[in-house]
């Protein structure tokens, strides 16, 4: 167990390198509005803070330290140049409300990025405003709503969502005031076309699809689906979660999608940062251009300028106070410039190669995959139902045991329709020998499941903590430190 930073605190210890000289009493502030006690933040030296947080960092698995085949999350290498160049002082010090004439460099990058993302997705216009994938989804569905409303077509109340979709899809639809209606997946992993035909109607506002889908296969009937939905007057929304599988190979616009969002923290390699920040740009066809969220960058007489509510009166509006996660957008831009057009296609090619190779090797080793007749996209599903029935171990137990072997676990129990599943996404940046090692680890763990299933049920064994009690955390809520949690300071440091 690692101590909290509060446990290192000693009253009166200060970090004088950061201490400004005493300042006058703020005697103009009315007493009633003044704070009477300081927040009980830790009082530590710089070294204590640096050591504490360095040690904490070492408790994380990360791409930089471990193979991280977390399906649907695209945990690929985060090139260091992207970080270093987005953190150049000129960019870091740019104020979000600085006028365009104060500096054109940042706007030039954003303008290029909008255009490149439009090209690579086959869309007519792109806004970089949404701060994450879920905000991109929300913006996309809001635009669908704005489009129908503008045409006086206000009876549409439903968004269709495959049963395997990410939970953000139905949640975003309902935040836009739509009812999410689920579509079943057929046994080969495609959306059930008959069910789709039955579901569409004058109440259909649109459909949200991920392609390749969340079950790791390409939706083969996409063109027919587009026709069915369009004929019913609905629009097609593309969830870009899995764009890594087809980057530069197939464009959502060419598949018939009207509106898309991208996860730059997946396909364009910006860091996941322990759970954010992301960036979720949206792209649209011609007919939805007026509704794109603001602000955007435009070019006027060779100069870059902002487009805001004043120039875009029909916009769905702002998503955040400023222009989205600018620093993330810069990182994606650097990545794209290093890759270029051919590099982008290679992303899809090698991500698909790695996934299909790993799937083949795991099948060879006797593991069951969810859709054996299909090609993998950039990811695939292994189901441990047989191991569960034979040895009494769960996908969770298997995943926890992988941690002992120095592999981050794949995504567990998603999609919900495959029992005891692991969704595995190796990404294009892993080398063949690491994939081979992953197959060995799978094989070893299955042997352990056969001979000593308890070893899996009680895993992990080699990490600083053993399995954590999530039920207790939710039942007996401790969401913050309080002073009684820390021993009184004694003068000896841990």
């Amino acid at each position: 167990m690692t101590e909290l930073i509060f446990d290192h605190s000693h009253p009166g210890r200060s970090n004088d390198a950061q201490m400004l000289p005493p300042a006058p009493e703020p005697d103009d502030l009315p007493e009633a509005l003044r704070r009477s006690e300081r927040p009980r933040w830790p009082e530590v030296s710089e070294l204590q803070a640096v050591r504490h947080y360095t040690r904490l960092s070492q408790l994380n698995f990360s791409i930089d330290t471990h193979v991280y085949p977390l399906g649907s999350c695209t945990m690929k290498h985060n090139p260091r140049a992207c970080n270093a160049l987005a953190m150049l002082p000129g960019f870091l010090e740019r104020h979000p409300l600085a006028p365009p004439e104060a500096g054109q460099g940042y706007l030039a990058c954003m303008y290029d990025l909008q255009n490149i993302l439009a090209e690579v997705t086959g869309m007519r216009g792109v806004s970089l405003a949404p701060a994450a994938g879920a905000q991109g989804e929300f913006a996309g569905v809001s635009m669908i709503r704005a489009y129908h409303d503008a045409r006086g077509d206000t009876e549409r109340s439903e968004i269709l969502v495959p049963d395997a979709a990410h939970g953000t899809n139905p949640a975003s639809a309902s935040m836009c005031g739509y009812k999410a209606r689920e579509l079943p997946t057929d046994e080969e992993g495609d959306v059930d076309l008959d069910a789709l035909r039955d579901a569409v109607g004058p109440q259909t506002a649109g459909i949200m699809l991920t392609n390749p889908s969340t079950v790791g296969v390409f939706e083969r009937n996409i063109e027919e689906m587009a026709t069915i939905v369009h004929e019913a007057g609905g629009l097609l929304y593309y969830d870009g979660a899995n764009l890594n599988a087809i980057l530069g190979k197939v464009r959502p616009g060419d598949m018939g999608f009207d509106v898309i969002h991208l996860n730059l923290h997946k396909t364009f390699s910006t860091p996941h940062g322990g759970g954010g920040p992301g960036a979720g740009p949206v792209g649209v066809r011609e007919n939805l251009l007026p509704y794109l969220p603001t602000p955007m960058v435009a070019e006027e007489d060779g100069r870059y300028v902002w487009r805001t509510e004043a120039e875009c009166p029909d916009t769905i509006g702002r998503m955040t106070a400023f222009a989205g996660n600018a620093g993330v957008l810069l990182r994606a831009y650097v990545y794209i410039r290093m890759l270029g057009r051919r590099g982008m296609e290679r992303v899809a090619e090698y991500a698909t190669l790695n996934a299909n190779y790993l799937m083949t090797q795991l099948r060879e080793a006797g593991f069951e995959v969810a859709f054996p007749k299909r090609r993998a996209s950039h990811e695939f599903i292994v189901t441990l139902k047989r191991e569960h029935d034979q040895y009494g171990i769960s996908a969770m137990d298997f995943a926890k045991r992988m941690l002992d072997y120095g592999f981050h676990a794949p995504t567990m129990y998603f999609p919900l329709l495959v029992p005891e599943c692991l969704l595995i996404e190796p990404t294009e940046t892993e080398a063949k020998e690491d994939l081979d090692r992953l197959v060995e680890v799978f094989t070893t763990i299955r042997k352990e499941a056969e001979n000593n299933p308890e070893l899996l049920r009680t895993a992990p064994h080699t990490l600083p903590l053993r399995r954590l009690d999530e039920v207790r955390a939710a039942r007996d809520l401790h969401l913050r430190w309080s002073p009684e949690d820390s021993e009184p300071a004694t003068g000896t440091e841990g």
């Binding site: 167990m1 909290l4 930073i5 210890r13 970090n15 950061q18 201490m19 400004l20 006058p24 703020p26 502030l29 927040p39 009980r40 530590v44 803070a49 947080y53 360095t54 070492q58 994380n60 990360s62 791409i63 985060n78 090139p79 160049l85 960019f91 010090e93 979000p96 409300l97 600085a98 006028p99 500096g103 460099g105 690579v120 701060a131 879920a134 905000q135 939970g167 953000t168 949640a171 940062g273 322990g274 954010g276 920040p277 509006g317 400023f322 996660n325 600018a326 410039r337 290093m338 890759l339 270029g340 090698y350 941690l403 998603f414 294009e428 053993r466 954590l468 401790h478 969401l479 913050r480």
Partner: protein, 454 residues
């Protein structure tokens, strides 16, 4: 091939194992007509060296002006240790701590963040952060409407003295949920929200929540105790929008009025996050313990492992989209993990005293700057009364945008013209000073402004 490790031999043996001729064979389930042609609009790739040069040139175009712009994003000193540690690969390249045992670093940092934010705001609990202050206000409004069923109302009172961009983002996000946002006007001479304006916005109908900014968009301090009590008397929940630096000097929202507020949100950017053109920042949301289950976004809680050792996990997961799907408290899937790490480091390294000194310097510099600028002919303060580190000036004789343009020509960002936001403030600009704006910086600004208005 950038970032792809495969040798030709690797590729050959992998394809043989799969049983396809070439990589293109892996895409044989995709109809030929769907395949993209050459991506004409995407430039050719460049080696890192060339991209370095491009980005350095573009960053240099930004000019690094002397910045007196605030309005929701504030220039502050950031201790060097913060981003050196935050960008360690173990923080930078990890993801959401779904596997708690392999993510104790991120989880414990988040728990410490929640603890420090709860301390700062005087509230019982905090979530693990939201995208930014603007979207956090929208989420707080949705949360209040969910949580205040007694009010049987979806009306929310939002003062015009709340940041206009926060109000825009809120409108975008709550628009389709049947929520009515009712404005409360500010007093023309004080720039604050008087009780009468709150009363007139409330009217005789119930309201689910009242939003109270502190300081408000104009930098002015609101009479938060009276506003909080009045809102509570009417059965509304109170949502505070607070600046974290200001809270080093000002009464924490948890202590406003007789009962304290119900939800506090705000922008955590001043806590060690660079301006960076507007993001990524970090929204915070704190509340009472009995409302914790209504919170949007991620939350980290303390628990024990199989041996009884203390550890941390994501908790209250049953509220979230991946489990509750269309009935989730929000569609939010991530927090701003990396920014949480930076803010936690900032609060630890500054400590309570160092942080209070920062706030005092912001305030003292802003007071001094306002006096220095108002000594210039044609420049006057728009509002009377106390402010934290921002204030509104009126400019006589020349349009504000021209004055700001002249200042920009001298590499000074002098403030924000308020004309696009408020009809009656066409001759006004919002100016900010922080601990970075000592005597030299202020003098440079005052001299340039004197030339610009002359």
């Amino acid at each position: 091939m950038p970032f792809i490790p495969h040798t030709e031999t690797d590729v050959r043996s992998m394809l043989d194992a799969i049983g396809v001729e070439d990589i293109d064979g892996l895409f044989d389930e995709i109809a030929g007509g769907l395949r993209a042609g050459e991506l004409e609009g995407v430039p050719e790739g460049m080696p890192e060296m060339a991209v370095n040069r491009l980005m350095e040139r573009r960053a240099a175009q930004e000019g690094r002006p002397l910045c007196f712009l605030g309005a929701g994003a504030y220039p502050h000193h950031i201790p060097q240790a913060i981003w050196q540690l935050t960008t360690r690969g173990e923080f930078y390249s990890a993801y959401t701590p779904y596997q708690a045992e392999a993510s104790q670093g991120t989880l414990q940092v988040t728990y410490e963040f929640q603890s420090m934010m709860a301390e700062l705001t005087g509230m019982e609990v905090s979530n693990a952060s939201l995208y930014d202050g603007g979207s956090a206000l929208a989420e707080a409004i949705l949360m209040a409407v969910r949580g205040n069923r007694k009010a049987k109302s979806k009306r929310v009172i939002v003062p015009r003295a709340v940041h206009p961009h926060y109000r825009d983002a809120t409108r975008t996000i709550v628009r389709n949920q049947g929520i009515e946002l009712v404005e409360a006007d500010f007093d023309r001479s004080t720039g604050t929200t008087p009780l009468e304006q709150l009363d007139s916005a409330l009217g005789d109908e119930p309201a689910a929540a009242v939003v109270i900014p502190q300081p408000n968009f104009f930098g002015r301090l609101e009479d938060v105790d009276a506003l909080t009590d009045r809102a509570h008397e009417c059965g509304a929940q109170v949502i505070a929008v607070a600046n974290p630096t200001a809270l080093a000097l000002l009464s924490p929202p948890g202590q406003w009025g007789g009962k304290g507020v119900d939800i506090v949100v705000g922008e955590g950017q001043p806590l060690g996050i660079p301006l960076s053109a507007g993001g990524p920042y970090v929204g915070f949301l704190c509340t009472r313990k009995n409302l914790a289950r209504q919170m949007p976004g991620r939350v980290v809680g303390r628990t024990v492992d199989a041996d009884g050792n203390t550890g941390y996990v994501m908790t209250l997961r049953a509220r979230e989209q991946d489990i509750r799907r269309s009935k989730a408290t929000s569609n939010i899937c991530t927090n701003q993990g990396l920014m949480v790490t930076a803010a936690t480091l900032y609060m630890s390294i500054m400590g309570p005293e160092g942080f209070e000194r920062v706030a005092r310097h912001c305030h003292a510099n802003a007071r001094a700057l306002r006096d220095e600028l108002c000594a210039i002919d044609g420049v006057s303060a728009a509002f009377d009364g106390p402010f934290f580190h921002e204030f509104v000036l009126r400019i006589d004789g020349r349009p504000v945008t021209d004055v700001l343009g002249d200042l920009a020509g001298e590499n000074i960002l002098g403030g924000l013209a308020l004309e696009p936001y408020y009809d009656n403030l066409g001759d006004a600009m919002l100016v900010c000073a922080t601990e970075l704006h000592g005597e030299d910086e202020r003098r440079a600004f005052a001299e340039a402004l004197a030339r610009a208005v002359a």
